[in-house]
């Protein structure tokens, strides 16, 4: 399980999980799960285009991911963001259908982009993954304050001169970069699960944003490591175990939260007064 070729898989997946845990926290906080699904899914069309014109897959992914982020942000002024996201995604996938119809040998390559090639990562492919991961981390910490404020207290953020539009574009661009970094490693479907499930689970365990981010990273790492290990032993796909572990952790989190909620109703009443929302997940969810 720790032989030479597996070491690359462990390293690459650790980088992806770290970044997914951090960015996922903001994804869930901002209600941007659909964008986290749409960008990797649509960027996949960029990979098809790249193979058509003979440039690097990562470049194609990057161009389409950024294009998608820009479409979502520019339509998002006018309509609800979920509609903007859906439109951006179908436009990218429509182009992808065109690109695919022009190439001949695509099926295995597409399959690998959907489900990733975590066991086929070479040492040279690790360098760009790590570099893009570092840029993501730096960008998130640069945007930390505006992201937190505009997600938690939009009015205060505006009053302090933080532009909601610019924060949104910044966040979508980070998501585009995460897409470019993670899709060649874990595939379009897995990066979505890693962005959403651990961060959503973390909400059941704490109400403090900082702690939630830490828990989200811890769950993302646990999920990926356990999935690779079990997949190695059983021979079944990693994607299945990432999905299954994510679902089990989330259900466990919800069960624990409702049990604690029942046990400590008095505490919750005090909590409720601090927040205007009747949601048990209080303060930072509303």
């Amino acid at each position: 399980m720790f032989s030479a070729f597996m070491i690359n898989a462990w390293e690459a997946s650790t980088i992806v999980a770290l970044i997914a845990g951090i960015v996922g926290f903001f994804t869930v906080l901002r209600g941007a799960s659909f964008a986290a699904h749409a960008l990797p899914n649509g960027a996949f069309a960029g990979a098809a285009g790249a193979s058509l014109v003979g440039i690097s897959t990562v470049l194609g992914l990057g161009v389409f991911a950024v294009m998608g982020a820009i479409i979502i942000a520019s339509l998002g002024h006018r309509v609800r963001s979920d509609v903007a996201t859906a439109l951006a995604m179908v436009v990218m996938l429509g182009l992808g259908a065109l690109f695919l119809s022009m190439t001949t040998e695509y099926a295995p390559q597409i399959y690998s982009l959907l489900f990733g090639e975590i066991l086929g990562i070479s040492s040279t492919a690790l360098v760009p993954t790590a570099a893009m991961g570092a840029v993501c981390a730096v960008a998130i910490f640069g945007l930390y304050r505006p992201l937190m404020l505009s997600s938690l207290v939009p009015d205060t953020a505006e009053a302090r001169g933080i532009s909601a539009v610019r924060t949104e574009i910044g966040f979508l661009l980070v998501l585009a970069l995460v897409t470019t970094m993670a899709v060649p490693v874990v595939g379009t479907l897995l990066i979505f699960s890693l962005l959403v499930s651990p961060a959503a689970t973390a909400r059941s365990f704490t109400k403090r944003p900082g702690a939630a981010m830490g828990i989200s990273v811890a769950f993302a790492l646990t999920t990926v490591w356990a999935a690779i290990a079990v997949s190695y032993v059983t021979g079944l796909p990693i994607g299945f175990f990432v999905g299954a572990i994510g679902a089990v952790l989330y259900s466990a989190g919800r069960a624990w939260a409702s049990w604690r909620q029942g046990a400590r109703t008095t505490h919750r009443k005090a909590d409720r007064m601090a927040s205007s929302s009747p949601s048990p997940r209080g303060r930072w969810t509303s």
Binding site: V28, G31, A32, S33, F34, H37, L75, R78, V79, R80, S81, D82, V83, T85, A86, L87, M89, V90, V91, L93, G94, L95, A97, L98, L100, S101, M102, Y106, A107, P108, I110, Y111, L114, F115, L189, L190, F192, S193, V196, S197, A200, R203, L236, P237, I238, G239, F240, F241, V242, G243, A244, G246, A247, Y250, R254, S277, S279, R281, T285, S286
Partner: protein, 300 residues
């Protein structure tokens, strides 16, 4: 190639081709169902769920493939189960809607990975993933028509039965609570009809077109009118028009290049839908001084 009159627009054989007829019929049916569900999807801010069902259904489809039952059955059952799961997690509440859909979709994608893996190792159909994503409206078996019609009627029927409570609860949850409309029941009913509608469109025309026809025409229609009935009518007309024109263009595109390779129909339909949306957006944006006022319902 010599062209005279209408043959400039309709390349030879368009009207006599069986697959084209079938594509036009299925396209129109899907347009009607998507138009009705689409308006409520857009107004209720459920686009993510509307798209997610097409991916979740694919997991059910691949499970059905393994079990040797009908893929449509797999799509419908999986999506109805997923609709229940989303409701349990809290898809009706605005704050947790996005996460509820995301968590269910994440779990379903994991199952899809497993089923596709088991399916491909036993019979090597790597293309299964691709065909589920992109679909092929020109490769439908004629036997699918009755099933599609029955499910369409069922889905539209549920939406029509729920019509008034749906409008009321979409536009003003507080008012509808005051009037005794059961919010959660309405929401679950809508999700079930959406699950049916999307199962149907995803399995026939693929996930991309399913989402495009559900969201695009409806989003365009609510820019044109604020009355729900008219919006549904416009959405159906836009969906039917773009589908038919897309089928025509895809058919004709075979003759465009010397290599005689038709461009995919999904590319044309999606492009038409998007261009129409942007055009309407630009026009209504100019007409209205403040564009955000036109949005019915709550904004996210």
């Amino acid at each position: 190639m010599t062209h005279t009159g209408a043959s400039w627009i309709f390349e030879p054989g368009f009207f006599s081709s069986g697959p084209v007829h079938l594509a036009l019929i299925v396209g129109a049916t899907t347009a009607c169902v998507s138009g009705v569900s689409g308006i409520f999807t857009v107004v209720r801010g459920q686009s993510f769920a509307g798209h997610a069902f097409s991916d979740i259904g694919a997991a059910g489809g691949s499970a059905a493939f393994l079990l040797g039952t009908s893929p449509l059955f797999g799509f419908v059952v999986m999506n109805l189960v997923a609709a229940g799961g989303m409701d349990l997690i809290g898809v009706q509440r605005r704050r947790s809607r996005d996460v509820a859909t995301g968590v269910v979709l994440g779990a379903a994608l994991g199952l899809a990975a497993l089923f596709l893996y088991l399916g491909t190792t036993s019979s090597s159909t790597t293309g299964a993933t691709i065909s589920v994503l992109f679909g092929d409206i020109f490769a439908l078996p004629p036997s699918i028509v009755p099933v599609i019609v029955i499910l369409s009627v069922l889905s539209v029927g549920v939406s029509l039965v729920l019509y008034r409570p749906l409008i009321l609860s979409s536009l003003s949850p507080d008012l509808s609570t005051a009037r005794g409309v059961p919010l959660r029941l309405t929401g679950v009913g809508f999700l079930a009809s959406l699950a049916l509608a999307v199962s149907l469109s995803a399995i026939t025309i693929g996930a991309i077109l399913s989402t495009a026809l559900l969201i695009g025409p409806a989003a365009t229609a609510v820019r044109i009118t604020r009355r729900t009935g008219f919006a549904i009518l416009f959405a159906i007309l836009i969906a039917a028009f773009t589908t038919w024109l897309g089928v025509l263009l895809a058919y004709d595109s075979y003759y465009w290049t010397p290599s005689h390779r038709a461009w995919p129909v999904s590319f044309f339909i999606v492009s038409l839908i998007f261009m129409l949306y942007v055009a309407v957006e630009v026009v209504t944006g100019r007409v209205r001084a403040s564009p955000k006022n036109g949005e019915p319902g709550e904004t996210t």
